[in-house]
């Protein structure tokens, strides 16, 4: 039974088609990766699923209900949370206040929201930074903050845009472990990732995009050996 369903999504910007008839399903509890070269339409797809862009054709459904045309805040309240590729912490607020904003989408009680936020910061390993201003965090910490903030909205599906992008090598294993733990906890995830070692290790399934179109959809093993994926994205060296 698919929880999130992307059906025939097409999005054009002027003469450029960012997504062309993209369809795939994400089952409940599944972790699906999205790969593809720059400009292949991965981020556009995220913007559409999360309600920031309206597709020219096609539909996004969550548990059978359509999300298409809903505002981003509605989409979030219905259970789809996201992180941003270019991180967007509320720089002037403290770390715990950042996460509280997410928690307050589910509770009206400020004190309860603060307790939830502290729990989540503990879970993503940012507990000791809770009272610092978000602007003082490193990139890796900001990624964790965005993760905690999105989780605070109690999503049914979490969209992660580049978990390891721009993060120093030493921080990557910790972040990957975090994603793994979330998945193991039953969360459904859709993850954009450039780091092939990371994505093939965590994803159950991978969708490959190229020039806005889906060119492959299958197990990490099958997709990384797919002729078109190798030609378009991975390069010959990868298979050897």
């Amino acid at each position: 039974m698919s929880l999130l369903s992307v059906a025939g999504i097409t999005k054009r910007f002027g003469g450029i088609t960012a997504n062309r008839d993209v369809s795939f399903d994400v089952a409940s509890g599944e972790l699906v990766g999205i790969i593809g070269p720059n400009g292949s339409g991965k981020s556009t797809l995220f913007e559409i699923i999360s309600g920031f862009y309206r597709p020219d054709a096609g539909e996004v459904r969550l548990d059978g209900g359509s999300l298409t045309g809903l505002s981003p805040d509605r989409v979030c309240r219905l259970g789809v949370a996201r992180t941003f590729q270019k991180l967007r912490p509320f720089a002037g607020l403290t770390v715990v206040d950042n996460v509280m904003v997410g928690a307050l989408t589910r509770t009206h009680d400020v004190r309860h929201a603060r307790a939830r936020a502290r729990d989540l910061l503990d879970r993503v390993g940012l507990a000791e930074k809770a009272d610092a201003h978000a602007r003082t965090l490193s990139t890796g910490q900001r990624k964790r903050l965005e993760l905690a903030r999105a989780l605070a909205t109690e999503p049914r599906v979490l969209l992660l845009d580049e978990v390891t992008g721009g993060v120093d090598q030493r921080s990557i294993p910790g972040l990957v472990q975090l994603v793994r733990d979330l998945h193991r906890g039953g969360l459904t995830l859709l993850v954009i990732e450039h780091n092939m070692r990371v994505i093939t290790a965590v994803a159950q399934r991978i969708v490959a995009l190229y020039l806005g179109e889906k060119i492959a959809d299958g197990t990490p093993d099958a997709v990384t050996r797919d002729r078109r994926v190798v030609d378009a994205y991975l390069g010959q060296a990868y298979t050897q």
């Binding site: 505002s71 981003p72 941003f84 912490p89 002037g92 403290t94 206040d97 904003v101 997410g102």
Partner: protein
């Protein structure tokens, strides 16, 4: 600042004013400080907490001033009713401005707000048959609390103190409530706020409408106190700037800041004018230059405003933004 003790001290001092001081000039100053402080606080709801830098809040102030003055002089309606009508009108106009804020961002929104107050100025100064045009409206003095014909300045102090306290509490709510946190998120990054389920647009519009209504209430009380409504004053850009200046000087997005800023501006202006201004003074207008210099120096050394500056230098603790 975390604690509310500076606010308690401020309002307690204001409440003691009429008991300690009998001088009409000083009481007048206190009333104006509280009125301008309340107006700046009302501006702060939109400008500070929602991050919508309006330069046209005089429009709402003028609506409040005119509503009560016109209803009172033309139909003999109590200014309290006029206050409600003014607040209602301002709310409606606030919704329009709020709608604009979702279309225009940053400087464009600021420009639109100026245009907005200028349109009302033109209407008020040209519609002679109804508003008496550029001559303005003298508010008749009819003794009684219901008609706000109060000669005793001490009563006025407590009246505007009530208003100021209300404005302070509204801001405190915006700092500590769920809606306050959400509004802070919208101010910081609207898209990120949306992605977390915050109904950003509705919140912004609501904040601007509330801010407009409260500004109109200040306008009504100001006009009833001063006793005259001049369109070129109540709808002026000068007045709009005064509101945001007081809030920025005192500490934008802090509940006590606008009152502190208003106190500084009012005291500075009044004392400088008394000293250097007036007919026969050697250097006419020098007080304006000194006034300007003091403002510049203040902003140079306390760019976040006085309240955060005090917080940092007196208590050695950094300003915590919107954290309660």
């Amino acid at each position: 600042m975390r604690g509310t003790w500076p606010a308690v001290a401020f309002f307690a001092a204001a409440a003691l004013g009429p008991i300690v001081v009998r001088d009409a000039f000083l009481l007048d100053g206190l009333i104006l400080i509280l009125l301008w402080g309340a107006s700046a606080a009302a501006w702060n709801v939109a400008g500070g907490y929602a991050g919508q830098l309006s330069l046209g809040h005089a429009a709402f102030f003028g609506l409040g001033a005119y509503s009560a003055a016109l209803l009172g002089t033309r139909w003999g309606v109590s200014p309290w009713i006029g206050l409600l009508v003014g607040a209602g009108l301002a709310t409606a106009f606030g919704f329009i401005l709020g709608f604009l804020s979702n279309r225009l961002r940053g400087p464009y929104f600021g420009l639109a707000t100026i245009a907005f107050s200028q349109v009302l100025l033109i209407v008020a100064s040209r519609w002679r048959g109804f508003t008496s045009g550029s001559e303005g409206i003298p508010v008749p003095f009819r003794p009684g609390l219901w008609t706000l014909g109060i000669a005793d300045k001490r009563v006025w102090v407590y009246l505007v103190l009530l208003l100021a306290a209300l404005l302070y509490l509204v801001q405190l709510y915006l700092e500590r409530s769920r809606r306050g946190y959400q509004l802070a998120a919208v101010r910081e990054d609207e898209d990120a706020a949306l992605s977390l389920g915050v109904p950003a647009r509705r919140l912004k519009v609501a904040a601007i409408a509330v801010s407009a209504a409260l500004t109109a209430v200040c306008g009504t009380l100001w006009a009833q106190y001063v006793g005259f409504v001049d369109p070129f004053y109540v709808f002026s850009v000068d007045l709009s700037v005064r509101f945001c200046l007081a809030a920025i000087l005192g500490g934008i997005g802090t509940p006590l800041g606008p009152f502190l800023g208003a106190a500084l501006i009012t005291i500075l202006e009044t004392s400088l004018r008394a000293r250097f201004g007036g007919i026969g003074a050697g250097l006419v207008g020098i007080y304006l230059i000194i006034y300007g210099v003091v403002l510049i120096v203040t902003m140079r050394f306390a760019p976040q405003g006085l309240l955060p500056w005090f917080g940092e230098h007196l208590r050695r603790r950094p300003h915590l933004g919107t954290a309660p």
